[in-house]
Symmetry: C2
Amino acid sequence: MARKSLVGVVADELLDRIIAGDFPPGSSVPGELELSARHEVSRMTVREAMKTLEAQRILSVERGRGTFVNPLNRWASLEAVLRAASEGQNEAAASVQLIELRRMLETGACELAAARISDADIQTLFGHVAAMRAAHEVNDIAAFVEADLAFHDLILRASENVFVAVLFAPLHRVLEKRRAETSAVPTIQEHAIGHHQNIAEALESRDPSRSREAMDLHMQQTLDDLKTLVLEAP
Amino acid sequence: MARKSLVGVVADELLDRIIAGDFPPGSSVPGELELSARHEVSRMTVREAMKTLEAQRILSVERGRGTFVNPLNRWASLEAVLRAASEGQNEAAASVQLIELRRMLETGACELAAARISDADIQTLFGHVAAMRAAHEVNDIAAFVEADLAFHDLILRASENVFVAVLFAPLHRVLEKRRAETSAVPTIQEHAIGHHQNIAEALESRDPSRSREAMDLHMQQTLDDLKTLVLEAP
DNA sequence: TAACTGTAAGATGTCTGACATCTAACATTT
DNA sequence: AAATGTTAGATGTCAGACATCTTACAGTTA
């Protein structure tokens, strides 16, 4: 594990304090000098930390006046918004909203892919499904998850829409660990295999709306799985 | 207009050179010292510029080794990806892909909103449609666009999904000016009014799939309008 | 020969202190 | 009362220095 630089630590701590409500949106954060004293680093280090938060539109720096916290809906970092939205008892709600978002992007990408995916890629999709079946047989969770991710990634790429991939990347990072958990349940694995098979067949038929529907059912199942897991968790 | 700081200028110029292909993905950018000489600024200014690009996942800085350009699909900034994707003759394709993305988010949000929007908000929606009609009568383009944007923003908020709003914000900024152009055509205004009316009525019926369909038709029309405009443009 | 080790070059990480410039509030002058 | 000057405090930029990490290479040793 890479040790974090001081800049990263300061940026994290500052973001934590913002999320904790120490500096509500619209208010100003302490001056660079005060922060450098607070965190026991030089002013330049504080400035670099600020720059990273400014690039994510979390802070607005105004020369001569100070540095201000932007309202949450202007933040450009999905991870930061997730941290803020997961505060308190909102973690479950945030998880559901993330799946909702994923559903929009994946069903949309699947609909586009139906008209654009190559024959070779379709065969690869069936290959991934076969790999999922094989992994399920021998109870190899890691291999199962890998084939699962490859399946979805391929559809994303087959949509030939760069921006979808860009917006999906942070979502992918956030949902990664949760997917490993859900995929550990054998019953859920079987459901997933069936859904993936349906999606691949729908894409093979080149029918956009059927493809979208197939992916939508899969997403609905994922959402249901998450809800039962969240509800059952102590 | 605010004059840009040196940091912003250096970051922009560096991003320009990256997009121009001077430093392809995977390769390293010149060292901080070399860049500070090239742009005639201090090393600290270069470092702060790098930090902004690193926060957008455009660059990866590795201590002791150098600074490297990430592949485009890891970039977290929609604006930067748009600039890169619009290079050469790809601008039209990029515009189409942006609309495709907008379609996914707006239809998804509309579907969610159908089950969550309040009665008061629905009345406000009809109010916005009325405002669009009034603006159309007197040919007030600015007022028309304002009501149009307010209509869509309200649906986004009514979806009660924070992350959708976060992802949509940069899209909004990018598409803002284009919408002003398309909204200037009277025929397109009439089309838009009809579609908005349908969307509001669909939401009023609380039918998610009907609401999604109504928004989808609107997005389809927007895409068609864009295509004819792009094709007709000299 | 092969493996280990020390050295040095080059890169980023951080610090210190200084000066420049912008903003806002206050004091002064007209 | 309005215009102007002053000042405090904030961010913007600079210069130079030292620390630390990575890599390559030469030299040493088994």
